[in-house]
Structures are given as structure tokens and as C-alpha cells.
């Protein structure tokens, strides 16, 4: 019973496919809020607050230019977090979708891996739409100073997929530990929101006094933001370090929720 379970790729794909089948029906209504929200932040913070930020902006960029790539990363975090918390909870404990799936050759470990991949896919889909919007808006409004300026930005969608998987692993870990849906308030207030505010999206954390930059280095969204910013403004080889951090963190944590979720489904 104690042996560690490794998911089967085929089983995981079947679960991914189930979610994709349902998403195909609802994608228009599901996409819109996720797509619109980062635009609101961009308008309020970038244009509103940005107007008060002195000429020269941050690191030679205007404030809107500075925050836009970071919002791509945080949008992926939000998309994957909702998917792996509320949506997964409902499938696990309310609709009992996983009970039905696991009486077939698809095992619990495949279900969790499929959900990781799906959350990543959803994050990448939303993010790609938002990225396209940023690119077009940037060139339309300030062609001499666009929001997305590098061909490296083509690597942002796959990066968002990886970021989505990372936050799905974190959200699934929390989901596997709780019994009541209202406990997500803690996850969002104590984990997701602080990450959103203090990961270098709105201001550079590197310029804070001693322990702050180090603390930031140990948090996941910080590296996701760095990676997206580096790709949006590339070429920038520092991106590799952030990508490596994200991959190592995700890989190290991914099997933990799988084992716990297995115990939730098989007693």
C-alpha cells in the first residue's frame, strides 16, 4: 500500500480529454472573465497608477510595459488555482466524478496528473489570448514603445503551461488536505494574494532591504514573473534560471498530492 504511484500517461490523457470535451461546450463563457480581469489590472495599475510614476519608469520601461508580462504570469496562476481548488473539490467530493472515473482502468494517480495537465492547458489558453491582446494593443497605442517587443514572446504560451501545472500542483495539494470548501479562503488570502502582490509584478522586489529579495527567491510566482518578463523583452538568458527553478519545484512537489488524493479515493 505504501508504494509510490506513478501516473500512466494514457490515463492522464483520458482525464485531460474529458475536461477538454466539456470546455469545448463552455469555452466562450468560461474564457471571458479570465481574459478580462488582467485587462482591468493593466488599465487601473498601468495607466492609473502609472501616470504618477516618474518619467523613466522602472528599469527604463514605462509602468505599463513593466507590469504587463507579470500579469501574464499571475493570470496563469489564477486560472490554474481556481481549476485545482474549487473545480477539483467539486469533482472529488460533490459530483463524485473521480469515483466514477476510478472504477475504470484510469487510476487516481492518472486523474490527478490529468488535472495538472488540464490546469496548465487552461492557463496557456487564457494566457495566449491575453498575450495576443497585449501585443496588438501595444503596437496600436505606442508603436515606438510596444508592450511585447521580442520574438522570444512566442515561448510565453508553453511557459504559461508550465506555470499552470506548477500552481495546479500547489492547489491540488491544498485540495487533498481539506474537507470543507470554505477553507479555500485561507489558501487564496494567505497564499495566492500575497504571491500576486509581492512577486515583482507591480514593483521590483530586488530593491528591497536584505531578507526580502531572498524570501522572494523561494516563492514560485516570482520566478514565473521573471521568466515571462524575460521572454517578453528578450533575448535574456537569465530566463533559464527561472525556468529551472519552476521545473525543479514542480517536479519535486508533483507526486505528493497524487499520493494523498489516492488515499481520498481508495480506502
Amino acid at each position: 500500500m505504501g508504494s509510490i504511484r506513478i501516473p500512466s500517461p494514457r490515463g492522464a490523457f483520458r482525464v485531460w480529454q474529458r475536461n477538454a470535451t466539456i470546455f469545448r461546450k463552455y469555452w466562450k463563457s468560461a474564457m471571458f472573465p479570465n481574459f478580462f480581469e488582467p485587462l482591468l489590472y493593466l488599465a487601473a495599475m498601468g495607466l492609473g497608477l502609472g501616470a504618477f510614476i516618474q518619467q523613466g519608469g522602472i528599469n527604463g520601461q514605462t509602468y505599463v510595459q513593466y507590469i504587463a508580462p507579470g500579469l501574464l504570469a499571475s493570470n496563469a496562476m489564477f486560472a490554474a488555482s481556481f481549476e485545482s481548488t474549487f473545480n477539483t473539490f467539486v469533482k472529488l467530493r460533490i459530483d463524485r466524478v473521480y469515483d466514477a472515473i476510478t472504477t475504470t482502468p484510469v487510476n487516481p494517480e492518472d486523474v490527478v496528473a490529468g488535472e495538472y495537465l488540464w490546469a496548465g492547458t487552461r492557463a496557456a489558453l487564457y494566457g495566449t489570448g491575453f498575450l495576443a491582446m497585449l501585443t496588438i494593443l501595444g503596437f496600436a497605442l505606442t508603436p515606438e514603445n510596444p508592450l511585447i517587443s521580442s520574438w522570444w514572446a512566442l515561448l510565453i504560451p508553453p511557459m504559461l503551461l508550465v506555470i499552470g501545472v506548477m500552481f495546479s500542483v500547489m492547489g491540488t495539494l491544498f485540495t487533498s488536505l481539506i474537507k470543507r470548501i470554505d477553507l479555500y479562503a485561507y489558501y487564496f488570502t494567505l497564499v495566492v494574494t500575497p504571491l500576486f502582490l509581492f512577486s515583482g509584478i507591480f514593483f521590483p522586489v530586488e530593491e528591497f532591504p536584505a531578507p526580502v529579495p531572498l524570501l522572494a527567491w523561494f516563492t514560485p510566482l516570482y520566478h514565473a514573473v521573471n521568466a515571462c518578463r524575460g521572454l517578453a523583452n528578450g533575448p535574456d538568458l537569465a530566463v533559464l534560471g527561472d525556468v529551472a527553478w519552476v521545473l525543479v519545484f514542480t517536479g519535486a512537489l508533483a507526486l505528493v498530492p497524487i499520493q494523498i488524493m489516492r488515499r481520498r479515493l481508495i480506502d
Binding site: 483520458r14 480529454q17 474529458r18 459530483d95 466524478v97 466514477a100 472504477t103 482502468p105 481508495i266
Partner: protein, 322 residues
């Protein structure tokens, strides 16, 4: 004697669809299943009859891999449940007690998506889904939302879903609980069709009538144990007399009545609620005559044939449906 040995050997052959030996399941200090021995042969409809909490659902869950035994052995479709979960699940179909249809999918889609979990090719799944919708009489509902179905329709869709992979063994956990009589009869018809097709069925129920109608053989469970097992009619024959008289009256009169009944009837049991005495006999006229002679006031007398319910009552002192 020779037959006995043959039967012993048979326990280990691959021909049995299901073999349990000393099967146990504990949750911490609580023993839900306390050491079951049973065997199910291909083409049988085998029942687990017992009140709620007897360990029926836990036993089903161990069969389809949702629960891991803590003792004993369990072989399903010739494979040990330890280490063969995927292979076993590929060859069985499960109708769970609680509806867990996929509400985000329409009726036919539920079957198609389920077929994908078994790696069925799309064309084969489509053909099979339409056959099954026809079988459970849901063809007109193929494109409806699951939420539009009645309880009986949902149960039939669950049965269709359990058959998508053409399983060797179908596990039904309380397939008719919560259904109205009409819906229940329809589900029974479908189960009988499956047995006629040669499928092996196991089902749990706390309805005596259901077990008696459908099962070739059954075991009666109580408190994590098998109390008795066999062919329904034979069990009734072996354990209780064919006729039952139920006498209802005030407690004082019942007290007076008891010795009189003991004299004439084969066996006397107290009804589950304590407000009735049940007299088991081969000659109900003689018992009635004797009661009339005694002059004890009886408010109400019911005559009926004995059944599995009475076997359960006799062996456990409890009623099946509490």
C-alpha cells in the same frame, strides 16, 4: 466425499468469477468486514442481502478496487486484487449506490466519455452507446442533460454506463434503492436480461423480494459476517416452516399467546418491533384453531408464505429493513 474434494479444489480454479477467502476490511479499530468466504460462478446472479451497515458496500468496493482488503484473499475475474487493479477494472462494470454520472455531459456523451476511459475506439463506442441506450430505453433522451432525467432513468443510464466495456462481471450496489415500484421493476427486467445474456452479476440489496426474484444464490450478511448462504428457496425451506401467522395485539395478550403458539407451531419469533408474534408452521389451520380455543384476544392476524426476511429474522433476531 469425492464430490466434496472436487468442490474444494474448485475454489482455486480460474473458472470462478469471484473467490473470497477470509476477506477482511478494517478502518482503524472498526472491522467493517470480518472474514468472508464466498465464490461466484460465471453466469450467476449472486446477491448480498443484509441491513444497512452489514458490510455489503465495503465488500463491493473491495471487488472494484475502491477499497483495499486488510486481510484474506480476493480474486476477481481470475486475478488477485493485489497488483491487478487496472486489469480487473478493465473487465468489470460498476453500478454505484450513489449516482455519479457526469452532469456536465449529455446522456450519450456520458457513455462515450466513459468508453474512452477503456480506450475504446470512437466508432465502436458510438455503436455500443446507441445499443445500450436502446437496451435501457433511453434512446429518446440521448441528447438530454443528465439533470433532466428522473431517478429511475439515471439508474438505467448508470447500468448502461457499466456495460460500455462489455464486462465479464457487473457489480450493482443497491441498484433499486430509492426508486418507485415501476422504476424498480424496469431495472429488474434489465438485470434479468443481462443474466439471460450470460453476464455474471453481483448485487447488494436490503430488499428481500429483490434478492428472491433475481438471485440464483445469495448470502445473508450481518455485522460484517456472512450469516448463511445458498439458493433462496432452499434457504427458506431449510430454516423456516413454509407458512407464517403474524399475530398483533397488546403486550399482555401476546404474553399469554406465546406458550400456546409454542405448543402448536414449529417456531415462534418476536416481530422486529416487539408488537407482534410470528408463528412458523406447516399447518396454519391447526394453529389458528388452537388460538381461537384459547380465547386470547388477538387484534389482527395475517397469514403469509415465509421468505428470506424470516430466515434473516430467525438467524439474527433482527429485521432486514430497519
Amino acid at each position: 466425499m469425492n464430490q466434496e474434494t472436487q468442490r474444494e479444489n474448485n475454489l482455486d480454479t480460474r473458472s470462478s468469477t469471484l473467490v473470497a477467502k477470509g476477506l477482511k476490511k478494517s478502518y482503524g479499530d472498526f472491522e467493517a468486514v470480518k472474514g468472508l468466504d464466498f465464490e461466484v460462478f460465471p453466469g450467476e446472479c449472486f446477491g448480498f442481502l443484509g441491513p444497512n451497515g452489514a458490510g455489503k458496500t465495503t465488500t463491493m468496493r473491495m471487488i472494484y478496487g475502491a477499497s483495499i482488503p486488510t486481510g484474506g484473499r480476493l480474486q476477481v475475474v481470475g486475478l488477485d486484487v493485489r497488483g491487478n487493479e487496472r486489469a480487473i477494472k478493465r473487465r468489470i462494470g460498476v453500478v454505484p449506490q450513489e449516482n455519479n454520472l457526469d452532469d456536465d455531459l449529455r446522456v450519450r456523451e456520458n457513455l462515450l466519455v466513459y468508453g474512452r476511459y477503456f480506450d475504446m475506439p470512437k466508432k465502436a463506442a458510438l455503436r455500443r452507446a446507441d445499443e445500450l441506450l436502446d437496451f435501457v430505453q433511453l434512446t429518446e433522451k440521448a441528447d438530454s442533460d443528465v439533470s433532466e432525467l428522473s431517478g429511475g432513468m439515471k439508474r438505467r443510464l448508470l447500468i448502461a454506463r457499466a456495460l460500455i466495456n462489455d464486462p465479464d462481471l457487473v457489480v450493482l450496489d443497491e441498484p433499486t434503492t430509492g426508486l418507485d415500484p415501476q422504476a424498480r421493476h424496469l431495472v429488474w427486467d434489465k438485470m434479468r436480461d443481462l443474466v439471460r445474456e450470460g453476464k455474471t452479476l453481483i448485487l447488494t440489496t436490503h430488499y428481500m423480494e429483490e434478492a428472491a426474484r433475481l438471485c440464483n444464490r445469495l448470502v445473508i450478511m450481518e455485522d460484517g459476517n456472512i450469516v448463511v448462504g445458498g439458493v433462496p428457496d432452499e434457504l427458506v425451506e431449510q430454516h423456516v416452516s413454509p407458512q407464517v401467522l403474524e399475530f398483533r395485539s397488546d403486550l399482555q395478550s401476546l404474553k399469554e399467546l406465546r406458550p400456546i403458539l409454542l405448543e402448536t407451531a414449529d417456531n415462534v419469533e418476536e416481530g422486529a418491533t416487539g408488537e407482534a408474534l410470528l408463528a412458523f408452521t406447516r399447518d396454519s389451520d391447526a394453529v389458528l384453531e388452537r388460538v381461537r380455543e384459547s380465547g386470547v384476544t388477538v387484534e389482527n392476524t395475517v397469514y403469509r408464505q415465509s421468505g428470506l426476511e424470516d430466515v434473516f429474522l430467525k438467524l439474527t433476531g433482527r429485521s432486514l429493513t430497519d
